[in-house]
Symmetry: C2
Subunit: 221 residues, 2 copies
DNA sequence: GCTAAAATGGTATCCAGTACCATGGGCTGG
DNA sequence: CCAGCCCATGGTACTGGATACCATTTTAGC
């Protein structure tokens, strides 16, 4: 137990110093000095200063990609909205560490930008997955794929940020709801050319009781 | 005419060198040397090396914010999908310059990340605007605001990238279509609690001819 | 223990970005 | 026309992240 790896010691020292003195006022030398290690060692374990804070982002992205490859869902959107849960689960597992990171990224613009960039990589992965799926099913609508990917990512981030702020006691339930909302947005509408689009789902009422409202809606447009 | 400003000479030298030798192999000294100016002058005109490429992003964001402030549209989503056109118009005005920038951001990860970060600022602006609007109208659905902002930005970027790649002869028409699609996604549905959601818009047909299809949809769920 | 491989450390260097002060040229008021 | 001023430019020096390269120590396998 008295042998934390060099990597761990560096991360620990880094987070401690970031908390004490702020991210920008902490130099790599400060970190390595507190960790009792050499400067070279730092850069061997972390590609950059920012990387101490986001160590396993690449791995997580890979996991999500794998989940997509091996997924067997009815639609691309469902597959993606399922795969994205891996990300939420990862953060929730990290627990307090994730919250400390959030506190840092909220304050330091450089870190926020980095976080945003990595979120964009998920979005890109999702977009390409959905677009590929659509190409398979002879439905070429790249904009639709773009919107789906953006919606899934936005919904996920919404729930994640709520949890990070401590506003969400049950993020799993919330992400379920959020994804249901996203899927609802794109719920395959009955399309008749350029004409009417109708979406109807999860009704408990008789259709007939809704016809008046439907008529009003159609007239209002 | 023989008196381009220092700022212009720097930008010109920078772009030329980026094209010739690549962004990363070009140093600030290279740029200032070719421009026949001092290193200090560079940083007085541009905050950073990346800033030569994205000079007026802040100004544009401000313009969009102003447009939102002074907008008088029926819904927040329409206001936002209108304001975002300023961005597209700006890029299209830039013409070839925008395309050169796109070529750079496509190749250089650091620049791509920066571009993504600035896109995120628009998204944030939109999200806050929509959320504020919803708060006014006593409809507190922050996730919905998040999704709307994400969708508008995604749709805009889709059209913009198509234009940048030379795939879009008429970006204004395309952005119209894209925004119509986004607004359609969120078209205010008749909501009865947890029950049925119905969306119907732009129909040319009589409602009655659609009732059978509607029944089938509702039954299938 | 011994040796090969891997982890660590040191040094030098590059380059972006900041701080500070010097200079020079053009413009205005006198 | 000149004095004084403002402002753009320039130079110099420094910080700190990141890379390259080589020396050294530690560890692991036998």
């Amino acid at each position: 137990m008295s042998k934390p790896t060099a990597r761990e010691r560096l991360a620990e020292a880094a987070f401690a110093l970031f908390d004490e003195a702020g991210y920008e006022h902490t130099t790599i030398d400060d970190i390595t000095e507190r960790a009792g290690l050499g400067r070279t060692t730092f850069f061997r374990h972390y590609r950059s200063k920012e990387d101490v804070i986001f160590p396993d982002h690449d791995r997580l992205l890979e996991q999500v990609a794998n989940r997509l490859q091996t997924s067997s869902h009815a639609t691309a959107l469902v597959a993606v909205s399922d795969a994205v849960r891996l990300v939420l689960a990862h953060y929730v597992d990290e627990g307090d560490l994730a919250r400390r990171r959030y506190a840092l990224t909220s304050r330091v613009p450089a870190l926020r930008d980095r976080e945003i960039a990595s979120v964009a990589r998920y979005q890109r992965l999702f977009r390409e997955f959905i677009a590929g799926w659509m190409a398979d099913t002879a439905e070429p609508a790249p904009l639709r794929a773009e919107l789906m990917a953006a919606a899934v990512v936005a919904a996920h981030n919404h729930v994640l940020r709520r949890w990070l702020r401590g506003d969400s006691p049950d993020p799993n339930r919330e992400v379920d709801e959020a994804m249901r909302m996203v899927i609802g947005l794109f719920a395959s509408p009955a399309q008749d050319g350029n004409g009417t689009t109708i979406v109807a789902f999860r009704t408990g009422q008789e259709i007939d009781t809704l016809i008046p409202a439907l008529r009003r809606l159609a007239d209002a447009t």
